[in-house]
Symmetry: D2
Subunit: 273 residues, 4 copies
């Protein structure tokens, strides 16, 4: 199966890139399924029901969220109605929605999509993501009930992210990090067959501070003083993520390449035209 | 000027890669100057005087350190004798050594090398890196006293790292992050001419947890229990960093490309042979 | 000199306690000077100009602030007009106002009042408080230019707070912590003569979570989910702080006792009637 | 039932105070049961099997631990042999030992003793303590299977500690914090009958930095540089804790007073002679 995963969609610039460029990218890559992290879709903070629908109509088959899952309050109710949205397994004991889902491609092949939050350097404490992932992966062996399994590990620390990859190695098709909004150049297939990237990067404007307009965050770093709110940067977004081809029989990765299209970062695979 | 910067050298595997492969890489790239981050050279914790000399004899013109600067106690005395080693400007009020230095290439062209520690998510508090960098950059305008200026921003958070790039944009030739041990795929020339990469990655074994053998860190993440010490992973290291060509007149960047050679990561520029 | 210090005034309940009970308390204790921490006076977040004036008219001779110093935006301008308000020395490079001031009692005796922010477990990074305090204390030797010196060390960690006490021991009359909103029972005169208490506690309702109504913080701790804003608890506040008598000649402490009046905590010295 | 709880025993000074002064204190207070936090008994880091036995022979009926539970490696095996030692419920998934125990006084009355770790500002992440405590308290309703229940909430943040008190209010006899090594002066009986103190303080030398000799921690705070290890301060320790009388029928608190004996802090109840 050919699976495209794109990192955190950042505000209007990110939405525009998805609406205008995801469908052609999907076709060009012949992706069977597309998963998109949507936790920053609405003004950089969470994702409204309307924006979730927009992404799902624009070429995404499934959305993941993150620590900002419910920053937009209508998601609290919407997530229970839309089975294609996944919030972190360990978001909170009383969180609505689901921490994993199974989606199908046009040929009926199944992909498990799940997400967990790291514990290191996060703004709130979350329960152990490793045991949470363990349960879900045991229940969905790739090559068994599902043809492939994708883990979005939403975390800050590279140590914890690399640990998530090795922990799932051989049990998931793809472990891809999100949350830092910067793509990493460490894509590899781990020893037991799982495709891994520490962070997919964001779908946002890279002339920014993690997708936000530079002015206010720079002021805070330089002067220590706060003046305004953060607002997403409005320059052209780079679609950023990972493209993996999996073996339907084993669920393991055959190949994994970075995807970056548009905006300021060097294009890979070569420019979409 | 052509400047090669390589990220955190990680233990024996990293040292071996430097000793065996830095000189050919340097020649192939026709690098005029090479700067290497050495904070994890000795067992993953700090850098002994002997290992510092080894790196300087193996093709490095200058070494930077980081939060682990003085984990090996002999560096406390050695750093005052070796002007080619830079510790963070804001390491501590009473730290020995220097936070910036100027080195010269074979043709006498000068490169300022400086380093600062971020404040976000670090294990100890450090004073404001932005005002520290401001002073050093004002005193060394590229295109003036020096032909180029390189800032190693040793930090965890992508927000603070991107802020360091924009803060120095137009005033430094290169701002490159270190500390996370994972290379980022966001190399770009910022609007006012500074080459930027959030993290150079490590010179270490990428089948690991940030360069450490996987067993013990995985145990701690999964079980919550400690058993052994961390030891560096011993597989072949990837040399990882950034290569920048600067304009000697303006000190700004003309081009910037990723460098990854050997080990498990995809090679760039194409494989060194 | 007899000096009363009261900890963080928390919202309306705290203001009411100051307005109604500070003047009688002051008289009963025969306090020469009263310093009050005002960082949570207005809705629990910062202190408006109007509320600052109210406290100064109700028996406080000087106000200190904290990490919430400028949560109420009108304080940014007001602090430069009112010399009796002190913000932390190390709040931020570009902060308005002053980090220390000297006030005088009815007999002309002078008290230095200064404040610093700790670095451990704080929500933002601050520069080194120890060197900042060092400069101010050197310039104002108690028993010299001033008869006494009070340091409000606004910090979370007990280790850093105890360190601040020992660091200033013999150089300040009083080192008293603030910020945790819980009074500590460790009042002592340190070996070289400085009165010390790790935290003065808050002037607020102790049937609460650090002065906030219990409902929302409990929800967040128990369920992990956010619903409403925090609002200060409205039950009767306890005035909480420390009362120190100093030697005008040496500036050192002769005696130090806890003060807690009203609300839920056991009264000391015996109930004010 | 009359229950005495003493906070973190700190090194040799703390052990000596327990050995020499706990038995007389126990008799004078006519305590039916004594619980002691032992996480810093051995050199300030953890508690060896031998030191645990020493405390249990010196007047303690039960020991609690904390984040330092297994710093002394022989505790990993010993805790499974000694049912009177409790480690935190949420220490780690694979931790040996138990998170709660039931002990009996001379008249056969039963006391539940349990411990949980907070999540805020701790050096490692722990799973949700509130749901862990909920399960234990539901299974041991005071006034039912046990006559009383004591919760040692081992945490840094005053907000989380106060939340633990309100969460257990009416369901436990005593909620007492540990870990900060400074006693708080906020002892109260909460609205539904639970005796509460944010922190019991340590049994250690208060002319110190949280029980450690001042020299090295002061050096680190002031200079930012490390030289030596931390070692416990050796001055006379203060026994520090809380004494609660409970109603055997309801399990709720009738009275709660601070206990501080010896060393530098003001004695309460009046000096033991
Ligand atoms: Fe996130
Ligand atoms: Fe995000
Ligand atoms: Fe580092
Ligand atoms: Fe490093
Ligand atoms: Fe406060
Ligand atoms: Fe505060
Ligand atoms: Fe502890
Ligand atoms: Fe402790």
């Amino acid at each position: 199966m050919k699976i495209l995963f794109l990192g955190d969609v950042m505000g209007r610039a990110g939405r525009r890139a998805i609406v205008e460029r995801l469908q052609p990218l999907r076709e060009r890559l012949k992706a069977d399924l597309v998963v998109v992290n949507a936790e920053n879709t609405s003004g950089g903070r969470g994702c409204t029901a309307g924006h979730a629908q927009l992404l799902l109509e624009s070429g995404a088959d499934c959305l993941t969220l993150g620590d900002h899952a419910f920053d937009q309050k209508d998601m609290l109710a919407f997530i229970d109605k839309e089975s294609r949205i996944v919030r972190p397994l360990n978001f909170a004991k009383d969180a609505p929605g689901r921490g994993h889902t199974v989606i199908s491609d046009a040929r009926g092949r199944k992909l498990l999509v799940t997400q967990a939050l790291g514990q290191v350097f996060m703004s709130r404490p979350y329960d152990d993501p490793f045991s949470a992932l363990d349960g879900v992966l045991r229940a969905h062996p790739p090559g068994g009930l599902v043809q492939a399994a994708l883990v979005d590990f939403h975390a800050e620390a590279t140590s914890e992210k690399m640990a998530s990859g090795h922990f799932c190695d051989g049990r998931a098709s793809i472990v891809v990090g999100t949350h830092t909004h910067v793509p990493t150049a460490d894509i590899q297939i781990l020893p037991r067959g799982t495709a891994f990237q520490s962070d997919a990067g964001m779908c946002g404007d890279y002339d920014s501070i993690i997708g936000m307009d530079k002015t206010e965050p720079l002021r805070r770093f330089i002067t220590g003083m706060t003046r305004d709110r953060f607002t997403p940067a409005e320059g052209e977004a780079t679609l950023s993520g990972i493209f993996v081809e999996t073996d339907d029989r084993t669920g393991l990765a055959r190949s994994a390449i970075p995807v970056r299209q548009g905006g300021r970062l060097a294009a890979t695979p070569d420019e979409l035209t």
